[in-house]
């Protein structure tokens, strides 16, 4: 009986160790989590910048030529990536749409929540936004 119990304990422990190794290999360790956290900061910044651009468009009557901070559009978002210092990209695509880009480390894992008129493209790392009222 003792042998069977030892087999059960060893089997459970071995299975756990194998799955732990596979899970770490599949999901990555702390470095993967840090990459995801940095990307989460970037996508939050892009969403906040999109709100800023829409606010500026409402103030100016058209989409701005370039990003700028405006006291009327508070709170002021970050204009640059806090982890690399690189400026976030801004391009006007048309009279009512624009895109904001960042250097994502794992764009395929970026979690975007559903918001109307906003679409994140993992290929380019850009958030394309259409001004809802333009």
């Amino acid at each position: 009986m003792t042998d069977r119990a030892a087999i059960g304990r060893a089997g459970l422990a071995l299975l756990a160790l194998v799955l732990l190794a596979l899970a770490l290999w599949t999901g990555g360790g702390p470095a993967a989590g840090q990459r995801e956290a940095r990307d989460a900061t970037r996508i939050r910044d892009l969403q906040a910048l999109a709100d800023l651009v829409i606010c500026l468009a409402d103030e100016d009557g058209a989409l701005p030529e370039m990003l700028r901070l405006e006291p009327a559009c508070a709170p002021a978002p970050r204009l640059a990536d806090p982890h690399t210092g690189a400026d976030y990209g801004y391009d006007r695509l048309s009279a009512d749409s624009f895109r904001l880009c960042a250097g994502f480390e794992r764009p395929d894992t970026v979690a975007t929540w559903s918001r109307p008129a906003r679409r994140f493209d993992p290929e380019s790392g850009c958030l394309t936004v259409r001004h809802p009222d333009a």
């Binding site: 069977r4 089997g11 999901g27 995801e36």
Partner: protein, 202 residues
């Protein structure tokens, strides 16, 4: 006097009168006592020449410390088994996705079971070792109960597993992924039953 006390008193008196253990066992068996009860009664007394039957400390005393270890053992076993299954399910969902590619957030779901296993697997192994009785002694009744409780839960899991497999088969939905998950549950539950075997038999 309880039935157990009556049995133990009879056994002591018989041993003191010089009766052979085999003869006492046969008499008790004829009187309707079970093998376990007879064995328990005979093992309670050591026969030494020139001395009346010497009471044995047949079961390890249940101290507060041992109860603590047993409680931790049960909780740790539940955490290990549950998170092992959760981890395997998530890995299966990543490797064999129902829609390709698998959602990226599945990888993040691996972290909690990993953390749980890193904490509770060593605790479970340590508590199993710590709760082991000294040579020649048997586990306290609480340990045996815990063994039976764990096996009860594992058997319920296996029964539920079998039920789900048959249901999905009849529904024409017994996919390879589902069967693999059912196999994981059965294997983990089976290993739990094996691991608790010595407690149940003690």
């Amino acid at each position: 006097m309880s039935r157990a006390a009556t049995l133990h008193e009879f056994t002591r008196d018989a041993l003191a009168a010089g009766a052979a253990p085999e003869a006492i066992a046969a008499a008790l068996h004829d009187a309707g006592w079970s093998e376990g009860e007879i064995g328990d009664a005979l093992e309670s007394w050591a026969v030494r020449p020139g001395l009346p039957p010497v009471p044995r400390r047949s079961r390890t005393a249940l101290t507060a410390g041992l109860a603590l270890v047993e409680g931790l053992h049960l909780v740790a076993l539940g955490m290990v088994a549950g998170h092992l299954i959760a981890l395997a399910f998530t890995l299966i969902a990543i490797w064999l996705p129902q829609v390709s590619p698998a959602p990226h957030w599945l990888a993040a779901q691996l972290r909690w079971p990993i953390a749980a296993l890193v904490v509770f697997l060593p605790l479970w192994l340590w508590s199993a070792r710590k709760a082991r009785p000294a040579p020649g002694q048997r586990r306290p009744a609480l340990s045996v109960w815990i063994g039976h409780l764990a096996v009860f839960c594992a058997m319920l899991a296996i029964l539920g597993d079998a039920l789900a497999v048959i249901y999905r088969f009849l529904a024409g939905d017994a996919t390879a992924v589902f069967l693999l998950k059912a196999l994981v549950v059965a294997v983990v539950a089976g290993l739990v039953i094996l691991a608790m075997e010595e407690r149940r038999r003690d």
